[in-house]
Amino acid sequence: MSKPEFVYVTYIETTPEKLWEALTNVEFSKRYWFGTEVKSDWKVGSPFALVTDGKTTDTGQILEADRPRRLSYTFKHELYEAMPAILSGLKSMLETGKPLAIPRAALGKEELARS
C-alpha cells in the first residue's frame, strides 16, 4: 500500500450506510461530483471509472471494499485540489438534500484541464 500524500477529513451528520451509498451511487455522485458518475460493481479487484458528460475521464481498480466502513480505489489523475469541493458538496447533499452551487472551475487546475 502506498503512503498517503493528501488526507482530507470531514464529519457528516448521516449514517455509515447512507454515506457508503452516496460514495458508490451513480445518480448521487452526479449531484455532488459536478456531473461525474462513479462506476464500478465495488468488488475488490473490479474496475473503477469516472465518467463525465458520457466521457471516461479516469479509470482504476477497487483495492478495498468493506461496506460500510472502508472503500479504497485507484485512479490516475491527481484530484487533491478537487477533493475539498467534492466532499463539501457530499456533506451538504447528505445534510440538507442540496448539493453546493460551485462552478466546475472552482475544482482547481486538474479538473479544469479535463473539463
Binding site: 477529513v9 470531514t10 475539498p84 463539501s88 456533506k91 442540496k98
Partner: protein, 180 residues
C-alpha cells in the same frame, strides 16, 4: 485586495509557514462565515462550547474562552480584512508552550465560489513543528470546521465526540510543556 499588516518587530509574519491547511466549501454568504468565525454566539455551538472574543482591529485582542470561563487560547489580531481575511496569533495557554514552540498563527481566507464560499484555514509556525504535535490540529480543525459548515447550512452544529489528542499531549509532555 487590501492586506493589513501589523509591523511589530517581534511578529515577522513573513517568516511563518503553513503547517496545516484545511479547505471547506460552505453554502452561506462571506459575511455569515466571517461572523461565525469571530463571534461567541456562533463559536459556542460548533467549537465545543468555546467562546471566541475578538476585537476586530489590528492589534486587537483575540481570545477563545473555555466553557468554564478560563482563557484557553489568547492572541491578537494581525490581519483583518472583513469578510475576506483574518489572521490572529493562536496561543494555547499551557505553561511553556509558546516559549518552546513559538507563536502559532491562524489565518482564515474567505472567497466566493459560485453561490458558496471557500473557507481556507492555515495554521502557521515560524519553525519546524513535529508531526506528533501537529496531530492535534490535524484532528481538531476538520471537526471544528465541519461543524461550522453544518451550523450555517442546517442551523444545527454537529455533536462530535472527540477523543483527547493523546499523541500531541504525550509529545508536549515530553518537551516539558504543561498539559491538562
Amino acid at each position: 485586495m487590501k492586506i493589513y499588516r501589523r509591523t511589530s518587530p517581534d511578529m515577522k509574519i513573513d517568516q511563518f509557514k503553513p503547517a496545516i491547511v484545511y479547505t471547506i466549501y460552505i453554502a452561506a454568504p462571506p459575511e455569515k462565515v466571517w461572523q461565525a468565525l469571530t463571534t461567541a454566539e456562533f463559536s459556542r455551538q460548533y467549537f465545543s462550547g468555546f467562546a471566541i472574543e475578538a476585537d476586530l482591529k489590528i492589534g486587537g485582542t483575540f481570545v477563545a474562552r473555555a466553557p468554564d470561563g478560563s482563557v484557553h487560547i489568547s492572541g491578537e489580531v494581525i490581519e483583518c480584512d472583513p469578510p475576506r481575511r483574518l489572521t490572529v496569533t493562536w496561543n494555547v495557554n499551557w505553561p511553556a508552550l509558546v516559549e518552546m514552540l513559538g507563536p502559532t498563527l491562524v489565518t482564515y481566507e474567505i472567497e466566493q465560489a459560485g453561490d458558496a464560499v471557500k473557507l481556507t484555514m492555515l495554521q502557521s509556525h515560524d519553525r519546524e513543528i513535529s508531526d506528533d504535535i501537529l496531530s492535534g490540529g490535524r484532528a481538531g480543525w476538520p471537526a471544528i470546521l465541519s461543524s461550522l459548515k453544518s451550523l450555517l447550512e442546517t442551523g444545527q452544529a454537529l455533536a462530535i465526540k472527540m477523543a483527547p489528542p493523546e499523541r500531541m499531549l504525550a509529545a508536549l509532555k515530553e518537551m516539558g510543556i504543561g498539559t491538562p
